[in-house]
Amino acid sequence: MTEPLLTIDDLKVTFSTRNGLVEALKGVSLSLDAGETLGIVGESGSGKSVTAFSVMQLLDRAGRITNGRITFRGQDITRASRSMLQPLRGAAMSMIFQNPRAALNPIRTVGLQIADVLRAHEALSAREARAKALKLLEAVLIRDPEERLDAYPHELSGGMCQRVMIAMAIACEPALLIADEPTTGLDVTTQKTVMDLLAEITARRGMAMVLITHDLGLAAQYCQRVAVMEQGLVVEQSVPASLFGAPRHPYTKRLVAASPTRHSTVDSLVVDAGEPAPAAPRVSLRRPAEALLTVSNLVKTFDNGFRGVDDVSFDLAPGESLGLVGESGSGKSTISRLVCRLLDHSAGTIGFDGEDIGKISSRDFYRSRFRKDIQIVFQDHGDSLNPRFSAFDCIADPLKLLAGVQDSRELRRQVEDCARRVGLPAEFLDRFPHQLSGGQKARVGIARAIAAKPRLLVLDEPTAALDVSVQAVILHLLDRLRRETGLAYLFVSHDLNVVRMMCERTIVLQKGQIVEQGPSGALFTDPASDYARELIAAIPHFDPEAATARQREAATAG
């Protein structure tokens, strides 16, 4: 190769915001050869998407390239005009996005949308474009492609939409494909099929790919080279085996440590957390005779006749942590809401402390004496906090309503105590949610849930919206809280590695039914059911050996 396909040289991008100019990229240099796959990893705000958008010239009005050069096939496209870019976009370089359903036009059939791209770059009749679109849908392995041509995006699943998006992006055989978090929000098995498809297509057609992701495992598994970005800078780049096997930059080290793998433990996630992590002995793991929560034959039928939860039974001892895993639609969140009495079930019993709390309707449960015993931590920490409540008000609310703390001095003492236990500095208590970071909001959400001293904490994907390094700290915190207080956890997550670390027992759900349950360690090393095996196999991981093996495989296949 004489010349790289794409070079980015000392790229600086600033955004004008209400608080003045913000420098999103502070001099990024990258290059990519034809046919190569480059991963860009980093946490939110690291500038990885901004880099991609600069290449495609898709920055919104507020963003401006202030310095540097982007060269594509030897052509300077840093400040290319529309007339120069339009023939390139889609034909020579194209992009697929996060949230595939929103990325497709909702009121146009997918066949027409693919045809639109084809006809933008080639002189084709409508009939020819349709025939070619059909071929493309076949290429991205969509079942019944003929029928799907006339489907609208809302009639397809998320994974299907992403395949359509891929079909559009590769329609004109571009030399470069930029994939911006292409599988975020998809189930782990869907993620695997979509990523395998992308890898296969780019390898077969000799396309270069830039894979932008926050998931180190994904980058390690599918990329020949990975660049790590932090705060607008590339801090380290190398082949995955050495990058993840022997990271040199402190940020990479932290990132690698924080990413859960099949071997990591809660303590191994955090390298240099500010808070001390005394390995306090666990409150005895011996299961007491009396179960705290006994769910038997639980059924939830929705209005449209769909059985979201279908005859599920399990129990949970005091101080125990039980994981619920499964893909979207498996009923895990529904179960968590049924147990919290936020939703009424159709049949079965929910025994708590020997009493059937299922008899109390979800409407009246707030008056029940059990309300303070069962609390929930939600997935979206931003949306689940009242925007007009300060952190103090959020935590004080359950204390006032459920614990009946009236005296203001006592209230402040207890709120500060809660904040201290979740590691939230007291000076943040007067801030409002929009003034807090994601991790701090998560801490407020947890403090609010434990404020009334519950005995069962339901955690509904508590770290799904957080960056890995923040996730590591929060998981650490949750684990410590359980050890200190003997809380029982019902832990709902789609991240199997997280569940393995956090829970002693795990239940695998599929279509509202339990397919497998057992001690987490055994379940993850030696799953009995096909479904659980499939789920576990689909987790991207960055074992150095596996990554190299995969590359060799890809090389021979190509």
Binding site: Q86, I107, R108, D116, H154
Partner: protein, 343 residues
């Protein structure tokens, strides 16, 4: 395929559910007219010195001597048989009057809506593509002007400018110049009738009569349409699928007109329905200023003389049209947005 069936089902359901509303409107107007001060019998007696006996006779003739519930039942029975009563002003059955005058109002409203849309859509799009530019501010100014100047003022200004000063427009007296030949009535819409009969001279005369009143009304409803188009376009232009279109190299024209505009039109369709219904009822001032023989001015005249039957007939007609417009909007929406019909 099943799209048509699903739209038909939705439309049918909507039509059925509007029956109670229509009934409510009938009863409400009926009672309202009875509550209003003034005795129609006195008003329609032959003269100021008509005797008590004569007034009593008229009252009996009109059925006003019966108790109100009975009057209501009689009225409902009449409506069911298609009899809306007789207008005391014109001496004609109300149904006949309305049939004669409705096309005039509809022709005016449709033309005005067409004017408004053909101006509002491009303006809204331009304003959205360059927010806070000179064009955007210009459109905002025009819209504010359209809303805050009452129709009778803008109508009179237009007459003053185009008829009195410039002399381009014909005199504002009704639908057709007195010297132009009246085409045979087929649909009641003069433009259509003249075109059918091939009388282009009359067509041109009718069209030139129509331009000023239609423009007056169009100016009035320009604001909601243009502002809604602008807001919807602004939202859609920042959406993910427009970015996709850009990223895959679609032409600017295609991105704006096919990807953005068609999505942005969805809320505009809703507003259009509201605007149309409002215009039909609210154009009484325009009809008065331009001596337009429409239903609104007919109803106003009737109201001023306590002529019950035409007012009730008018309200009923408006309610009916409102239901019809909503149905049409529903169907249009179902066609425009595939996501609606599955729900």
């Amino acid at each position: 395929m099943s799209l048509a069936a699903s739209i038909a089902r939705r439309a049918g359901r909507r039509a059925l559910s509007s029956v109670p509303a229509l009934f409510g409107v009938i009863v409400f107007t009926f009672l309202l007219m009875r509550v209003l001060p003034g005795d129609p019998a006195v008003f329609f007696a032959s003269g100021p010195n008509a005797g008590q006996a004569e007034i009593q006779m008229i009252r009996e003739q009109m059925g006003l001597d019966k108790p109100i519930p009975q009057q209501l039942l009689l009225y409902l029975k009449d409506i069911a048989t298609g009899n809306l009563g007789r207008s005391m002003n014109t001496g004609q059955p109300v149904v006949t009057d309305l049939i004669n005058r409705l096309p005039a109002s509809l022709e005016l409203t449709f033309t005005a809506l067409l004017f408004a849309l053909s101006l509002a859509l491009p303006l809204g799009i331009l304003a959205a593509l360059r927010p806070n530019s000179l064009i955007d501010h210009g459109v905002r100014f025009l819209c504010s002007l359209g809303v805050c100047v009452p129709t009778f003022v803008s109508g009179l200004l237009l007459i003053y400018a185009f008829y009195y000063i410039l002399g381009i427009a014909p005199d504002p007296t009704g639908r057709l110049d007195v010297f132009a030949a009246q085409p045979p009535v087929v649909s009641g819409f003069i433009l259509i009738d003249a075109a059918l009969a091939g009388e282009w001279e009359s067509w041109r005369a009718a069209a030139s009569q129509l331009v000023l009143p239609a423009a007056t009304m169009a100016l009035f409803v320009l604001a909601p349409l243009a502002r809604m188009t602008r807001a919807a376009m602004l939202a859609v232009m920042t959406s993910d699928f427009v970015r996709t279109g850009e990223a895959l190299g679609l032409s600017r024209r295609r991105v704006v007109l096919v990807y953005a505009l068609r999505n942005a039109l969805l809320p505009v369709i809703t507003i259009m329905g509201i605007v149309f219904s409002t215009m039909l009822g609210a154009n009484v001032l325009v009809e008065k200023v331009f001596s337009w023989p429409g239903v609104a001015s007919y109803a106003l005249d009737a109201l001023l003389t306590s002529d019950y039957a035409p007012v009730q007939g008018f309200v009923l007609l408006m309610a009916f049209i409102f239901v019809l417009v909503n149905l049409t909007i529903d169907v249009l929406y179902g066609l425009a947005d595939p996501r609606v019909s599955i729900e």
